[in-house]
């Protein structure tokens, strides 16, 4: 019995198969996993339980119990929207970790240096945060292209496209504000170039740049301003728009198509 190979399929049916029954029988365990969870004792694979896995789960906020068959084909969405969201989650987690070691003051550059040299996993987490930021911009853009090529912005999804454009702008702004934080030559001059573009706004150009930079040029006041935008304001806004975006995907009848 024990040597019998458990097939992957069966694992999926009871993904907690390896756990001891006494653990799964405990009332603590039962209190954590709601009825229908594949982690619960006695979960069996049935259409009813498959529905419960979603319905009795916090993920019910994101997913309906059933989806169109063509929508689960990886080749349709390429999972790009989901991956945009997931990169955002990764960025949130690594970002919060980085906040423990980072001061948006004249110490910023030193803090980044010590992250790279003397803090355990500092270099890895900084790299993850930075590359994930680049990846998110790419993935969101690819998601947008996929939506366009599928004509998935057509009625009734017009407004979700508009929300999507806002999400793209917010993603770029998040990336741009984060760009300044390492406070090195790359950061300050890239942001200066961006700020100069804003200053070419007719009539109010100077004011726009002043508001953005908290002064006439990139200083430590700018650093603080960008920091607050980056770690608090913009994530807050983007989460709200993501919530509306996901909600609209479902209210508009799920994924578009099939083509």
């Amino acid at each position: 019995m024990k040597n019998e190979k458990i097939k992957f399929r069966d694992r999926v049916k009871d993904i907690s198969a390896g756990l001891g029954d006494s653990l799964k029988e405990s009332s603590l365990w039962g209190s954590i996993f709601r009825p229908g969870s594949p982690f619960r004792k006695g979960y069996s694979d049935s259409p009813r339980n498959r529905s419960y896995v979603v319905m009795n789960n916090v993920l019910y906020h994101l997913h309906p119990v059933k989806v169109k068959r063509h929508a689960v084909r990886l080749s349709y969405t390429l999972c790009l929207g989901g991956l945009s969201f997931f990169t955002f989650i990764v960025l949130t987690i690594t970002g919060i970790w980085l906040m423990f070691y980072f001061r948006p003051t004249e110490m910023a550059y030193v803090d980044i240096q010590s992250l790279q040299t003397s803090i355990a996993f500092g270099s890895l987490v900084r790299n993850m945060h930075r590359w994930a930021a680049h990846i998110m911009v790419i993935v969101v853009f690819l998601h947008m292209s996929r939506v366009f090529y599928h004509g998935a912005y057509k009625a009734p999804r017009e407004f979700n496209w508009v929300i999507g454009v806002i999400l793209l702008l917010l993603t770029l702004l998040l990336s741009f504000t984060g760009y300044l934080l390492p406070w090195d030559q790359l950061a300050i001059w890239a942001v200066t170039v961006g700020g100069n573009m804003a200053s070419y706004t007719p009539v109010i150009g100077a004011q726009v740049k002043f508001a953005l930079f908290a002064g006439l040029e990139a200083t430590e006041a700018t650093l603080l301003r960008f920091y607050v935008l980056h770690v608090l304001f913009l994530p807050f806004i983007i989460v709200i728009f993501m919530a509306i975006h996901f909600w609209r995907v479902r209210k508009d009848g799920g994924i578009s198509g099939p083509l």
Binding site: V54, V67, R69, Y149, L172, P182, Q185, G194, M197
Partner: protein, 273 residues
């Protein structure tokens, strides 16, 4: 008993009182279970009467007319109710057609068609678990693995500390703005402006679904739209590549293989100089 709001209780009691011909207080008491409920002594014997073995399908009104008995009984029903406050006289409104003593009346004629109209075709659906959640989980894991892998081998750039007095040449925006920077280098920003074209551009993007009135989503039916977007991708890609690889000091044209690359965003680790 569940807490039912008082005003609803009273409304219900009024309806009940009217139907049974008893007082509102009586009905209320009955509903609260304080007194025995008033019962209609016998079921109306409509079933027994079976007035006509529908032969020539007479008009329904006729049928009703021929079933006088039950009505009488209903009317008498309130009488045996013992509780105080019983109204023995039937409210005038109930006796709306005394000559026929109807117990039913025609409210409306519902045509023989389904009440619910299916508006869409049934679609082929599968359970989200495991058919969607498993692929999602796998792509999420793959993404994490990929990210950790590149983070382990690629060091994120960190140049010298920021110094407002030393301007690098060229000063480049983040890579996703380099296409834009390249585009904007073609005109004098003081004259053509920057923000206005940008805002118009963003607005144009948002307006796409409202401009494209073609309802079809088949690629073969929207060749024009697909062509436009592909041009946009090609244009944006080309401009970005020029900005990233082919622009050197003074935003002059440079060849990456001759003059080197000015792109610290990614290439800090293979710096040509």
């Amino acid at each position: 008993m569940v807490d039912i709001p008082e005003h609803l209780l009273i409304k219900t009691a009024e309806a009940r009182a009217k139907a049974l011909g008893i007082s509102v207080e009586q009905a209320l008491a009955e509903m609260k279970g304080e007194v025995e409920p008033t019962t209609i002594s016998k079921e109306p014997e409509v079933i027994d009467v079976k007035p006509i073995e529908v032969k020539e399908a007479p008009a329904p009104a006729a049928e009703v007319k021929e079933a006088p008995a039950p009505a009488a009984e209903v009317k008498e029903a309130p009488a045996p109710a013992p509780a105080a406050g019983v109204k023995t006289d039937v409210p005038a409104e109930v006796d709306f057609a005394p000559e026929t003593r109807v117990t039913q009346r025609l409210l409306t004629v519902v045509k023989a068609k389904p009440i619910q109209k299916p508006t869409s075709e049934p679609v082929d659906k599968v359970n989200t678990w495991p058919h969607l959640m498993l692929p999602e989980f796998i792509s999420l894991m793959a993404m994490t693995a990929f990210l950790i892998f590149i983070s382990a081998i690629l060091q994120a750039p960190l140049l010298e500390e920021a110094n407002p007095n030393i301007t690098p040449n060229p000063a480049k925006a983040p890579w996703y703005f380099l296409g834009l920077q390249e585009l904007l280098s073609y005109w004098d920003p003081q004259i053509a402006g920057v923000m206005i074209p940008l805002i118009i551009g963003v607005a144009a993007f948002m307006a796409i679904p409202y401009i494209d009135r073609n309802k079809d989503n088949k690629p073969s039916k929207r060749k024009y739209a697909i062509m436009l977007w592909t041009f946009f991708l090609a244009g944006a890609g080309t401009l970005s590549l020029i900005g990233i690889l082919f622009r050197g000091p003074g935003w002059n044209w440079t060849y990456p293989w001759i003059d080197g690359v000015w792109f610290d965003d990614l290439l800090d680790w293979v710096h040509f100089e």
